[in-house]
Subunit: 272 residues, 2 copies
DNA sequence: CTACCGTGTCGCGCCATGAGCAACAACTCG
DNA sequence: CGAGTTGTTGCTCATGGCGCGACACGGTAG
């Protein structure tokens, strides 16, 4: 094959070409939202008829669907089924969901569940707040650990040297208030450990406030982070205090559902 | 080869075999949660080495991941990213609209889509009926939860104490038939939960009848309410029954579009 | 310890199968 | 009405995917 510099399909060897191309189509559609077979074929570096057949297989399984009788293609609802099955196997999401939902209705803001995954916070679940304007859906996305409330909570379950390893040496500044010094971050993480929650304002994005608390597993280790987030202007001191209280309560309830017995105090993982 | 009774892969011709098999693997993993390549190969009716290669391609894209260095496979987090891209454009109003439109023409009455928002039902969309007597446009308006069909449906997605919190202690009487007792309201909401629909007559406004049914999201939670409403004198018993049936059907169709699977039955709509 | 299952993983060779070509259909734009 | 799209479809060839079998590894029982 001469030139296929269009879409990364060659980097890590993929045993079967057509499957890889089909999956690449899914990613193309995820990025573009919509695309025609000509576009897709161009991006894959294949003939449009090839793209058409691949799309046809995806469509037969409901992973993609075409907008009109003879129109562009986009991701289909079967994806949602798979995603539901993916998170269903994670009992963190299952057990935390009722509490997260209540948290969302009580605060009126968006609730997220995140786990540590490959040096980032991976959002596993989201319950939209009661606000009329829905925020962007973060499920499946990864956000930096050092600039988010969920990230700091997840880091609080690690030892200091593990924290260093996860975040790396260079902390990118997303806003002027982003913590860029590792030692400062460690100090904050330490505070998260003793307080059991954290509030982050304008560190990832200006005008975005979030408060998070840890969800713990049977052994007391941090398995996930539960957060409430919304526009900073909606979080005055009183609401922030109330949201903090509710998030901690919901996280504790979730922890209890996962078999964690709160010994009244936050117990550290080791006994030294 | 003509013996593929293992997994439905034959119904509507899928242009490219390997892709279809790979997608079938995703469904297998979605159902089973975990599976080894031997299992997968058996279910697909192919050699395990074939299954291994297909899984390899899926793994290269992050759609599946193996539990251990040399272990079983399960769905991966890349699915969540795709789902995020899918839900980004998948909002209740847009997906429900075709069914709502159909519902409006079939019943001849006005159809509304509402969501729970800050202790009230917020109307997001409205399709006017064919009758000459048109109600005013309710889009963007908020109506009390305890005196409307949409409100009761939305409440049916909550726990009892959450219902109490949403409606507050004092239920205002808009008409003589408005439910003003919280316990009575809870009983009605409970009936909505088991029946899957609700009829409200003259509770918000004298002479106004409405029937509503819940629209559910991927996780089965109530994300919106779909209703048909009109003057009471136009709703005799027969029309009410028919409207109820149609509303429930339209709501179910909308739910399906949002990825909700009604009491999970495996696909059997093939062979046509 | 050895033999025997089981698993996931990999090399090889045949041929089914997927890819490219080109012609077709439908739809938009001047 | 023609020139430009678009998505769709036979056809044909060789490429890429398949099944076979062997290997590596981890248990378990003898």
């Amino acid at each position: 094959m001469s030139n296929n510099s269009e879409r990364g399909a060659d980097s890590t060897a993929s045993p079967v070409q057509s499957v890889d191309r089909a999956l690449a189509i899914l990613e193309i559609l995820a990025d573009a939202g919509e695309a025609g077979v000509t576009d897709i074929g161009a991006q894959l570096g294949v003939h449009k008829s090839t793209a058409f057949r691949l799309v046809g297989s995806l469509e037969a399984r409901g992973l993609v669907e075409q907008t009109a009788e003879r129109g562009k293609y986009r991701l289909g609802v079967a994806i949602l089924r798979l995603a539901a099955a993916t998170t269903a196997r994670l009992d963190v999401v299952q057990e935390a969901r009722p509490f997260a939902r209540r948290l969302a209705t009580d605060t009126g803001e968006t609730v997220n569940v995140a786990v540590l995954n490959g040096g980032a916070a991976l959002y596993l679940d989201q319950i939209a707040g009661s606000s009329a304007l829905q925020p962007h859906n973060w499920v499946g996305q990864r956000v930096p650990l050092h600039a988010t409330s969920n990230g700091k909570v997840l880091l609080s379950g690690l030892e200091d040297d593990q924290v260093r390893a996860e975040v790396g040496p260079d902390l990118r500044a997303y806003t002027p208030t982003t913590v860029v010094d590792v030692d400062v971050l460690l100090a904050e993480v330490a505070r998260v450990r003793e307080r059991g929650h954290v509030v982050v304002v304008d560190e990832l994005e200006h005008g975005l406030t979030a408060v998070a608390a840890p969800v713990r597993g049977v052994h007391g280790d941090v398995v996930a982070s539960l957060s409430v987030s919304g526009p900073t202007f909606r979080f005055d001191a009183a609401k922030l205090a109330r949201a903090t209280e509710l998030v901690v309560a919901a996280a504790d309830d979730s922890s209890r559902r996962l078999g964690h017995r709160p010994t009244g105090r936050v117990e550290q993982t080791s006994s030294n």
